[in-house]
Symmetry: C2
Subunit: 376 residues, 2 copies
């Protein structure tokens, strides 16, 4: 895996870059739509591609449960199976194992060995280790593989945060060692990349320690975790600000689980190159959408009942070019899944258009000027 920063900006950490993967080249800053269970909710891979996606994210927890990595491997990997011809980043599954993998009486449990959890489908006892998380992701066909990390819940005690950072560091080391073993090294040689994850919650020292731990290892990219877990906007900014100056500029920086347009601008300003988030499709399922000036609106509002115009007259997405807000509102109010699909298309377009604008403004040394009011 190869990353090269193309252009950096004065008075900002914002930069454009090129990330080369086995399934194609990605222009950063990039947003990865989430194909939780083999599909970006309501959309075909072709639609996602046409909207401007260059890479998508697959959820290891969900795919491990159904249909299982063995089936996907036998079908030629996620890319071939779901007909997504570009790169795919797979998460480690740890976060979902911890948040979804509980029964009524037993919760998921993290030990030094790994995460023990229970399938939310049938209660089956399962286990992820740093090693097995990599093995599963390689079977799924991930171009970018994420390490298993220990993401402390929010809020957490200092003691728990400290333990999470320590364990995350130890698992990171085990992960890079596993990654370099025979067989796996072979796959790595195909150009796949392994990313480490920085934890540490809202504790500056712990964030910096975690960054040091992760950056001391031969990861292909540095991810920042635990910033979208129940924390407010200001906290999210703080967590990134603790380490923004110390991010290794030779590697890509990936902020996990962030997708609000305004946050993308702020975080790109802080040096982030990659994002993923379920928001564009999740908001759509609740009738919510972004306007071209990054405000949230809801199509269920009565004022849209008779709006013959599109959702946003300034939007050039396929939904806004074709359908009135009145029609979209009707679809959502009557639970027609086409409504969710058309809103998902709009929301993803807002994100991809924003990223195109941002990349272009960086290349033209105009980023700070153009997005100034949104940077802090």
């Amino acid at each position: 895996m190869k990353f090269s920063a193309r252009h950096t900006v004065k008075n900002s950490h914002a930069r454009t870059g090129i990330l080369t993967t086995p399934h194609g080249v990605i222009q950063t800053p990039v947003f990865m739509p989430v194909a939780t269970s083999g599909a970006v909710k309501t959309l075909s891979p072709e639609e996602v591609k046409n909207l401007g996606a260059e890479i998508i994210l697959g959820n290891t927890y969900h795919l491990h449960l159904r249909p299982g990595e063995e089936l996907i491997a036998a079908e030629g990997g996620l890319q071939k199976w779901m007909n997504w011809l570009g790169p795919i980043l797979t998460d480690s599954g740890g976060y979902q194992a911890f948040s979804l993998g509980a029964t009524r009486s037993k919760s998921a449990k993290t030990t030094d060995e790994g995460v023990r959890f229970f399938s939310h489908l049938d209660g089956k006892k399962l286990f992820f280790t740093p090693e097995s998380a990599i093995d599963i992701q390689l079977k799924l066909g991930g171009d970018i593989v994420m390490v298993l990390d220990d993401c402390a819940p929010f809020p957490a005690t200092e003691k728990r945060l400290y333990a999470a950072v320590k364990r995350t560091g130890e698992w990171a080391k085990r992960s890079t060692e596993h990654w370099q073993r025979e067989g796996i090294a072979l796959r790595q040689a195909q150009g796949k990349g392994l990313f480490g994850i920085v934890q540490g919650g809202l504790n500056k020292e712990l964030r910096q320690q975690s960054l040091k731990d992760i950056q001391s290892l031969p990861f292909d990219g540095i991810a920042i975790g635990g910033v979208s877990v129940g924390e407010g906007k200001q906290n999210m900014l703080a967590a990134v600000d603790f380490i923004a100056n110390d991010l290794d500029p030779t590697r890509p920086h990936y902020l996990m689980g962030v997708g609000e347009p305004i946050d993308l601008i702020r975080m790109i300003h802080r040096g982030i190159d990659m994002f993923d988030c379920v928001l564009p499709t999740r908001l759509a399922r609740h009738g919510a959408f972004w306007t071209t000036n990054f405000k949230r609106e809801n199509i269920r509002r009565a004022s849209f009942t008779n709006q013959s115009k599109s959702l946003d007259p300034k939007c050039n997405c396929p939904t806004c070019q074709t359908y009135s807000a009145s029609y979209l509102r009707h679809l959502v109010m009557t639970n027609e899944s086409l409504g969710l699909r058309l809103l998902s298309i709009h929301n993803l377009s807002i994100i991809f258009n924003l990223l195109r604008e941002i990349r272009s403004s960086i290349e033209n040394d105009n980023f700070v000027n153009k997005f100034g009011p949104h940077l802090s």
Copy 2:
């Protein structure tokens, strides 16, 4: 509205024809996908068009409840509102008013005046008359408008069937009179058409009486109702056979609610020109699909788990050209709505491909030869 039979077949009532509507020309025999509430479930109007649909059906009952015909009229009619640029047939709403329009304590009730029913959404008391059913459909923008008829439940007593036929005839007369009144006649002059409906259940004399009643009136087309309501295949054939020889050849013949491929073949043989049915999309929602030899299969079957091939190797639909059965099964098993959408696309393609083959075989005087085993 103009209909001309183009080609008829020896030893069969099968024929091709051209139906001219205000929103374009339809080649018959034709299948109309059902856009119940302003959308063919899970599909965009553009997708429906690309699959080969030339006309769709809108449900007056559903659209009357939400968003209401006034809103749709203000938005320029169904065609403009939902971005379906072709013709639309609207049903009268009577069938759904009767089957859905009941509260826990009160059922819908048919009197000589019309159908009294209750909104299934909020229990509001509503009323359709032959006249109001036309008015609503014209506001919706129907190119083909259906009369309100009295469809007796199945099974029905002879007395109830007789009453239904009598009332259907009286309402048909009121409908043609209303259609010819000033203002409405104006719309008719735009090329819209009004279709009458033949009832009579499984009683030969009543079917023939009803046909005589309907054909004596200046309808633009003759529909056959009450054949898909809880009746078996043999009964459906019998009901049509009672009147097949007496259908006026100068007008189009529309069999309501029939969409199983094998039934389309049989019924086209009996002189039917038009069909509508929710089956292609309803089956998809249950994981069911048709093969190219008109058998029903279900993607949930375990044997599809590892099937790297498409649903049907002989199918050239967008779904089969792109996705494996294994992937489609996964989408359906995990309730990803993309799965329902891809199966709907397949099922509609099976129907449209069949109709293309049938029309071509009729034009080539090869229909009886080609579809012989399926005709009886």
